[in-house]
């Protein structure tokens, strides 16, 4: 079985400060990990993915995420937050050994960047 947890409903950060949105996962095999962002009244937009290779993955809009196998985490990070980064962020996981192509999404974390 595959599952994902986003322990924070909301993250508040001041513009210009670094941000972290947390995600932990559970799979039987190797994980495929994804981050999506959802702006108000919009669909989910793909940010980045980890399939294999380097643990630090760089994605759109200056975001990056670090895959940590020992901690089963895939936290989303950005060195300097912008007010326009305020949105809902979803982590998703798919178990490579799970026999399904369908990812499981987390509940989402609302990121609020204050001017």
């Amino acid at each position: 079985a595959q599952s994902v947890a986003q322990p924070e409903d909301q993250v508040n950060v001041a513009e210009g400060n670094p941000l972290t949105v947390k995600c932990t996962y559970s799979v039987s095999g190797n994980p495929y990990l994804f981050w999506y962002v959802q702006y108000p009244n919009r669909g989910l937009q793909f940010l980045l993915k980890y399939i294999t290779g380097d643990n630090l993955v760089k994605g759109s809009y200056g975001f990056e995420a670090e895959f940590n196998k020992s901690q089963t985490s895939f936290h989303l990070k950005k060195p300097s937050a912008l007010v326009s980064d305020s949105a809902l962020y979803f982590c998703a996981v798919r178990d490579e050994a799970g026999g399904s192509y369908i990812p499981t999404f987390g509940r989402g974390t609302s990121l609020i960047v204050h001017p």
């Binding site: 495929y32 994804f34 793909f46 993915k49 399939i51 399904s100 192509y101 369908i102 499981t104």
Partner: protein, 112 residues
């Protein structure tokens, strides 16, 4: 950049009525999906479609739901007899392979 499109953006219907939600996936994609998101809750998988047939479906996707690809471009989700609890945002997605999915802007379905 090609995008997934969905129509209508908002659909209001009465309980018991049939609704059809429409999607145009990205043209060279092979896999198609429907998800829903009840207000304030997480994104839930409904069904995936590949090679003109359903490849996976969730427990939510019961006999009231059906999907169709009536031509080379559209992908539809039909709900035969809507219930109040079907009120949600419905997202269509498509993918060229089995990894990254690209989502449309969603259709907000309100059942009264």
């Amino acid at each position: 950049e090609p995008e997934v499109t969905q129509t209508p953006s908002h659909q209001v219907t009465q309980m018991g009525q049939e609704v059809i939600l429409r999607c145009v996936p990205i043209s060279n994609h092979l896999y198609f999906y429907w998800y829903r998101q009840i207000l304030g809750q997480k994104v839930e998988f409904l069904v995936s479609f590949y090679n003109n047939e359903i490849s996976e479906k969730s427990e939510i996707f019961d006999d009231q739901f059906s999907v169709e690809r009536p031509d080379g471009s559209n992908f539809t989700l039909k709900i035969r007899s809507t219930k109040l609890e079907d009120s949600a945002m419905y997202f269509c997605a498509s993918s060229p392979g089995t990894r990254v999915q690209y989502f449309g802007p969603g259709t907000r379905l309100t059942v009264t």
